[in-house]
Symmetry: C2
Subunit: 362 residues, 2 copies
């Protein structure tokens, strides 16, 4: 799998007339090598690919453990004396060489140092390749989703009057860790009016009667992410609360129906049109436009392409895995979001998160 | 506190002849506003400070929750139509304006967009200001350390023959979360020979008899980090194992003694000299030079200045908080690391992690 990916990268390298590509994002390094130990918050290493060689550049704290471990890769140690740009110079020999860089990931200080050694730096998008998943990747994401469903099924027993958002986060994350797995991102739990912020930071707010509970969480399965959101009700929902919930649910259904119809008609599917379908439905019911994209691709990163948003130029294609997650957020009232993951497969659209979606009153 | 920090930043802005400073790192945003909800893996927002105004630029999913919440800050919504560079243009009115950016954090794609709108972009280091901690910050880090000590005290009961590294990670993190707190970084647990890699990714390796266990973990207390490492022994350590452990322990002591002596003599303390003291001691005993820095500053980020490393130019000063963490790593044998945090205070050097350091046999 990794050999094929590197082979494909080399083809691109030739096509774009690059002498080498410097990969810095941890997700892309994992994509090319299977190695995922680097910390995302630091710059622990790079992958460098030329027409003739594969290199991992990393600090001494990793280099020993890595030597000989990654098939077909040579490990080169970064140090003060041998910074990345010098190592690249040693490999390429000439400063006229042109190098691809991940502009979405590389920091300005790295760029400036690199640019002193090489004049020709060009943006290189490995992210684009990662958007289309193979069978194995889809399996891993699906497995992550299954664990998410299992966790959701179990979490109800843990919901109690007076518990804090943070406690519920802890319960969700513990259930994931009991499966010997990690979370794919910081779990979001929002009670009541806090749910009017889509990315609420869970805190000490305590659960009261008759509140919405938004739970947005994901599982990491062999480096691949899941992501799902369910909104449940603690107590007895009023008519208005049920009404809002069902508009969100219906909005997701509209997006799915739009996709399925387009697939049936073998039409090219613009991601922006899927977004529009769900968005317009919510607006037509008199509620505010969704303050975020309808959905995002997922894989080695929780958020990657394709982008299902109003201005997206992405076309949805076979092998893509993405979320559909409409929401209504009202200040002082709260919020509702329903998020599922879908695969665009050979046989059509398949939902891979399968927790129930009728409004659950706990 | 935040008002003073912004006032200080404005002085720097004048001094460096900048018309504005764009702060992008989440730690620095937290430092200036107290707001820490932005995800580190995404670009959720920026802070922009001019001589006359304080702004938070963020996406719609945050902007509503933020409006009016951060004292003295105006919230401006980023959108496709209003990207950051356009918002800055609206504020500054002229493209000759010079803007400070965090080159260590800003991505190349952001830099290029910004650079199209403004020709004068200069590196700006707020990280430098963050290195000196005030009393309140030291209190928060110390509180995080205390929880770390408490967790370490409790974790022994959880260590069992045959448990996996990941299970021990889970036990440590659960103990932290039971205190209603978060971890400050991904917990590292390494059994036996795995400990020869300083940044081992904990996995399914099972604990066997007569192995070293390295535990490196931290607690987040009101946005401030702790960080500590203890190496314990499962079974009965051999003479060689005890010998190696004690060299590491002695190496840390040497560094502390060096610091205390320099403080007593009121000498300027070069961080590189502290590193050298501990490093040389290990080498003098015939073991390899530490494959990482002796220590690092800590605060809103786990790793920040000062840097206690061979090539560091940092001078250790009052108000700095940093780790001293020597280690010996031997392939096929394993590793030992002992890490504590220290404050350089008015009354001298104070250790703020206080778990015992004699070799513990579990």
């Amino acid at each position: 799998m990794f050999e094929k990916r590197i082979k494909d990268l080399r083809k691109k390298l030739l096509k774009e007339k690059l002498d080498g590509v410097l990969i810095s994002s941890v997700a892309s390094i994992t994509y090319l090598t299977g190695y995922s130990n680097f910390f995302k918050e630091e710059r622990d290493g790079y992958v460098f690919i030329t027409s003739g060689g594969n290199y991992i550049l990393t600090h001494s704290i990793y280099s020993k453990a890595l030597k000989g471990k990654i098939l077909n890769f040579e490990v080169i140690e970064i140090s003060r004396r041998d910074p990345p740009e010098k190592i690249l110079q040693n490999i390429l020999k000439r400063e006229t060489a042109s190098i691809g860089i991940e502009e979405h990931d590389l920091r300005v200080y790295e760029y400036k140092r690199l640019n002193k050694a090489f004049k020709n730096l060009k943006n290189f998008e490995l992210k684009v390749d990662r958007v289309i998943k193979n069978k194995h990747e889809i399996e891993l994401i699906s497995k992550a989703c299954k664990v998410g469903d299992k966790v959701f099924e179990k979490v109800f027993k843990k919901i109690k009057l007076g518990m804090s958002e943070k406690q519920l986060v802890f319960e969700i994350e513990s259930l994931i860790k009991k499966e010997d797995l990690d979370v794919s991102f910081r779990t979001i739990v929002a009670f009541g009016t806090n749910a009017s912020a889509p990315h609420h930071l869970s805190g000490k707010t305590k659960l009261e009667m008759n509140q919405f509970i938004v739970m947005d969480f994901g599982v990491l399965f062999e480096n691949y992410c899941s992501d799902m959101t369910r909104t449940v009700f603690f107590g007895n929902p009023s008519e208005k609360q049920k009404y809002i919930y069902n508009i969100v649910l219906e909005s997701q259904k509209k997006a799915v129906e739009f996709l399925e119809k387009a697939l049936k008609n073998k039409k090219s599917i613009k991601a922006a049109d899927v977004d529009k379908t769900a968005r317009d439905y919510i607006i037509s019911k008199g509620y505010p436009s969704i303050p975020h994209s309808l959905g995002h691709g997922i894989g080695l990163e929780v958020h990657e392409g394709p982008h299902l948003s109003p201005k997206s130029k992405d076309i949805l294609k076979e092998g893509m895995v993405f979320s559909i997650e409409p929401g209504i957020y009202l200040e002082g009232f709260g919020g509702v979001r329903i998020e599922d993951l879908f695969v665009l497969g050979k046989k059509g659209l398949k939902q891979i998160t399968n927790s129930k979606k009728e409004l659950i009153a706990v």
